[in-house]
């Protein structure tokens, strides 16, 4: 994430005096951002998890192009690679692994597992990122308004947060799914069984139930930021509300937002998988890590690798994002315990 407002960043840093004196002496003259980056780089675990996340993101971005240019083939059948007499199990050991299909082929269809997994990363990440962005946008806007305005606006938003949190999220996602997808489909190209409405439904509902926690965090941050002089100054010179919210306050929130983002992503990647298990979300043949795992359940005993691989990929990205989030938080706030 790039940072523009260079002179304002210091505002967010909680209690810089917490760092040992010797450190301060050594790295004097560096900006707080630079300090944080240095701390982050020094932490091996953070760097590893950052690399893993970066690899996943790279896969996610490049997979559609690789599919387009025919390098990956997530939907093409290879009937000659599965044995109809065994109900379509792949021919050969390790799930039919070969030079052409390093992760083997899917039972029944002979589709290339590696292609499906890589392309699945694209869709899993897209869903998680979209839902995270919706949650963060709503949470941030309401958090800023609530924290800055105070008064009755604050209490209304506070009650809205309580209300949203009291809904059982998974239940709502499941219960609203059949009607919800149909509703979403009305506003989108494609029918109820297309990927767009199914994916969009998950994204929207995850986002709509995900903002309250973020709003609370942001509100807390805003409460401290609004006492700063530059905000007073902006108010005094008669800056508009919108300007104060988005030009003065928002740039000071990037640190908590970054941490929130990296910690919300893994939750939504897991949520996508869990919802796939319940039959909600993008449906095959378009792959997501969740629906690949779901379709491999039947083969848990017959073709264990096929069952294990998608689960493993989900585990790795969820762990990495969590560690990355922790690492970023610690780098920004060295006093926080690890």
């Amino acid at each position: 994430m790039t940072v523009q407002a260079s002179n304002l960043e210091s505002e967010h840093l909680p209690d810089p005096t917490g760092a040992p004196e010797s450190d301060i002496a050594k790295i004097a003259g560096k900006s707080p951002t630079k300090l944080a980056m240095d701390r982050f780089r020094r932490d091996k675990l953070s760097m590893i998890s950052f690399t893993v996340v970066a690899v996943y993101v790279l896969i996610g971005i490049s997979a559609p192009f690789l599919v387009k240019f025919g390098v990956l083939d997530p939907t093409g059948f290879n009937k000659e690679l599965v044995d109809p007499s065994t109900g379509g199990l792949p021919i050969g050991s390790y799930g039919g692994a070969s030079w052409d299909h390093p992760f083997g082929v899917e039972p029944g269809t002979g589709r290339d597992v590696l292609s499906r997994l890589l392309y699945g990363v694209t869709f899993s990440l897209t869903i998680a990122i979209s839902a995270t962005i919706i949650a963060i946008v709503i949470g941030t806007v309401l958090g800023i308004i609530s924290g800055f305005t105070g008064g009755w606006v604050d209490s209304i938003i506070g009650r809205a947060i309580d209300l949203t949190l009291s809904f059982p999220q998974t239940l709502m996602l499941l219960a609203l799914s059949s009607m919800g997808v149909a509703t979403v489909a009305k506003f989108m190209p494609g029918g109820e069984s297309d990927n767009l409405p199914n994916g969009a439904y998950v994204v929207i509902v995850l986002g709509l139930f995900g903002w309250p926690g973020i709003a609370r965090i942001i509100r807390g941050q805003v409460l401290s930021v609004r006492e700063r002089e530059f905000v007073d100054a902006a108010v005094l010179i008669g800056a508009s509300r919108r300007r104060i919210y988005f030009k003065e306050i928002l740039p000071n929130l990037w640190a908590p937002l970054l941490v929130t983002f990296t910690l919300t992503m893994p939750a939504y990647i897991s949520a996508e998988a869990a919802l796939s298990f319940l039959g909600v979300g993008i449906i095959p043949p378009t792959p997501t890590l969740g629906n690949i795992l779901r379709s491999s359940i039947n083969y848990s005993i017959g073709d264990f690798m096929f069952f294990f691989t998608p689960a493993f990929l989900i585990m790795v990205i969820v762990v990495s994002f969590n560690l990355l989030g922790d690492g970023i938080r610690d780098a920004l706030d060295p006093k926080a315990a690890r």
């Binding site: 709502m172 799914s177 149909a182 897991s270 005993i301 989900i314 762990v319």
Partner: protein
């Protein structure tokens, strides 16, 4: 104190009412016809109309909501039809207060469905809770004490890995391999204490509870570890150690007490959420708890059951929040004025 509790309760009730209203709006403003789904595949328009009337779906959503609230307070009867009451009273179902609705799919009141499913979810929640609290605190302390060693890293990494694997993968793995393939335990199927004794009850609950506990444990391990580490640097701990107190007593008497409050808060909310049913775990193990009830109701489009459950689970969360808030107020009197 009394006034505070009353005020929190009042807000909680308002919140519940608003939540039920939002729920009704969400379910009834969607462009799908519940009566059509309830009537079945080979239904004529006339039959659909009849079904609609019998189910009360012909009334506006707001009226249905008012009827629902009234039912919760004074009970109601299904269908509400005075002439039928006289002619064929055996067709009327009574639903005593607090009436959460009547499931036409299962032909029982929602309350009795819940009464049947609740012990399952509660048993699961209690056992899982004990497992993860004991396991989480124990491993958290061990990790903190052995900070920086292989044991510490191993505990933290493993708990994170279990957390990051999708729950249904862990559950299915335990079911398919531990129970079925390797036959280490029987295939779990819920037995009440009355049916199978404490032993039968526990042994059948073991795998599903373990699934849940493995998921929740990670948070508690990390939290316990962090608190123990943090408080070990506090002055009073240093003092206690300096006085010559042994490490063990210091750890448990002084350190843990500080960590207990946030742990109990987190545990309370997690437990309340889990009482509302573990949708995925119950589905994987085919335990007919509240979570499975949700899935089944969703499949058969059992709207009254879904709505009743949403409101009930919302109530759990709200009540849990009130209890936690009140506990806080007891511990820290400053909260009361806030």
């Amino acid at each position: 104190m009394f006034a505070y509790v009353v005020r929190r309760l009042f807000i909680g009730v308002i919140l519940l009412i608003v939540m039920s209203l939002v729920t009704f709006m969400l379910f009834f403003l969607m462009p799908q016809d519940p009566a059509r789904v309830a009537c079945g595949k080979n239904c004529s328009i006339a039959q659909i109309k009849q079904t609609e009337k019998a189910l009360g779906y012909d009334k506006p959503a707001l009226t249905q909501w008012v009827d629902f609230l009234q039912g919760v307070v004074v009970g109601r009867e299904y269908p509400e039809d005075k002439t039928l009451r006289e002619k064929a009273p055996e067709l009327i179902s009574d639903c005593a207060a607090p009436c959460l609705g009547y499931s036409r799919v299962n032909q029982v009141t929602v309350a009795s469905e819940i009464k049947e499913a609740f012990p399952v979810s509660l048993s699961l929640a209690v056992l899982a809770f004990l497992m993860w609290i004991i396991g989480g605190v124990l491993f958290g302390v061990i990790a903190a004490v052995t900070k920086g060693t292989v044991i510490d890293r191993g505990i933290v990494a493993l708990s994170l890995v279990f957390y990051a694997f999708p729950t249904f993968f862990i559950g299915l793995f335990l079911l398919k391999f531990i129970a079925i393939k390797w036959g280490l335990v029987d295939v779990p199927s819920y037995t009440t204490i009355a049916e199978g004794g404490i032993g039968g009850w526990l042994s059948n609950l073991f795998l599903p509870s373990l699934t849940l506990a493995l998921f929740f444990m990670a948070g508690y391990v990390r939290m316990t570890r962090a608190f123990v580490l943090e408080s070990m640097t506090e002055d009073y701990i240093r003092t206690a150690r300096a006085k010559g107190l042994k490490r063990g007593p210091v750890l448990f008497k002084h350190t843990m007490r500080a960590a207990l409050t946030p742990l109990v808060t987190m545990a309370g909310l997690d437990f309340a959420g889990l009482m509302g049913g573990a949708i995925i775990t119950e589905s994987v193990f085919n335990f007919n708890g509240l979570g499975k009830l949700v899935v089944d109701a969703n499949v058969s489009y059992d709207l009254p059951t879904l709505i009743g459950l949403v409101v009930l689970l919302g109530a759990f969360v709200i009540v849990a929040n009130i209890i936690v808030d009140v506990l806080y107020a007891v511990i820290d009197p400053r909260v009361r004025v806030a």
